[in-house]
Subunit: 217 residues, 2 copies
């Protein structure tokens, strides 16, 4: 059957699905760095939830007659590149990556989802973007570590800046290559002023997350 | 409240729960080594299923008034020791570990479960020991790799022997330290001849798995 979803919607589902699959792998790998069994359990629960999100996106693509691997393929290099460029060296860096990095990505995808015309897809995307508990968990653990050793804060703030820089590099790469997705975003925002407001909202939310961690943005 | 479960049953649930939690971490980490996105998805699905098993054991312990972390603690060193002693160097070694190593552990736990008097616990243990699809997946992938390059078979057979050796070392360590669990096994088997028959069954099943892979036991 001819696909019911337009290219931009398939792109959004594809990038999200591969993002969730790698988020799952990363959270599960970070669980091995967890200092206590309780931390291991908490990260494991989030990782399993990410896999569930991935599976729902995967099945939605299949149900719409789209090959999920085909849909993910254009984004594999950018997302793998992001993870290879930002390997967490230790438990706290992994938590920052899960909270700050995934937080930024989630905000961005939620903005894009608002422009998707297919209601079933839009609903599913908003559902899988729901927080799996990693925000409050990361905030509590990182704040605790900084209180115990304030010098940790400076190092982690640098790490968060590096994450954002690497994410912007990969996002630009995707924007150049995936015209349909870029047009959805530009068309949905209306004009350059709309894009500027969107970037402003992303920046504000990022600053709020850094503040919640007790880090300078 | 005083625990309703006896020490041997709590021990069995504890060792199983920590085993599932680390199996989840390991499968998820091996997913990063997967050569294709389809393999990544398949391993991710199994890993998420292992986490679900862990969560059910964890919740069962809680419902019985037992602290899951306390129940797991006696087995952390032995299970961590097993994984540290057998790091998979590559995708195929990870698959063999998931199939041969987990297969041996599963057979053993299933034998022990038969001696557990609490019916709800026994039922749950048998459910979480159900295969999550890793057997047929591992067999197909390993056989394919050996057909493509027969020399791989010798190296993987050595690896499987090393896994069994390391598992026996850690099992003896647990047997020495956890008297209740050892007594359950010995008492349930009846006598030394019963234990010998149990070991015979484990060995036969192990040999069958090696043959399924096309490897010499």
């Amino acid at each position: 059957m001819p696909g019911r979803l337009d290219q931009a919607t398939v792109d959004l589902l594809g990038v999200l699905a591969y993002g969730e699959l790698t988020a799952f792998e990363r959270l599960a790998a970070d669980a091995r760095l967890a200092p206590t069994v309780a931390d291991k359990i908490a990260l494991g629960r989030m990782a399993a939830a990410e896999y569930d999100h991935f599976a729902r996106l995967h099945d939605h693509l299949l149900a719409e007659g789209v090959d999920p691997e085909e849909a993910m393929r254009p984004f594999v290099d950018a997302i793998d590149g992001f993870h290879e460029g930002t390997p967490a060296s230790g438990w706290l860096e992994g938590l920052i990556k899960a909270y700050v990095g995934d937080g930024l990505a989630t905000d961005f995808y939620r903005e894009v989802a608002a422009f998707v015309t297919d209601a079933a897809t839009r609903g599913l995307v908003l559902e899988v973007l729901a927080d799996t508990g990693q925000a409050s968990f990361a905030v509590a653990r990182v704040r605790g570590a900084i209180e115990a050793d304030p010098a940790v804060g400076g190092r982690l703030a640098l790490w968060a800046r590096r994450l954002v820089g690497e994410a912007l590099i990969q996002a630009q790469r995707v924007a150049l290559e995936r015209e349909a997705l870029t047009e959805l975003l530009v068309g949905g925002s209306g004009d350059l002023a709309g894009i500027a407001r969107l970037l402003g909202r992303l920046t504000d939310a990022h600053t709020a997350r850094m503040q919640a961690l007790g880090l300078q943005a």
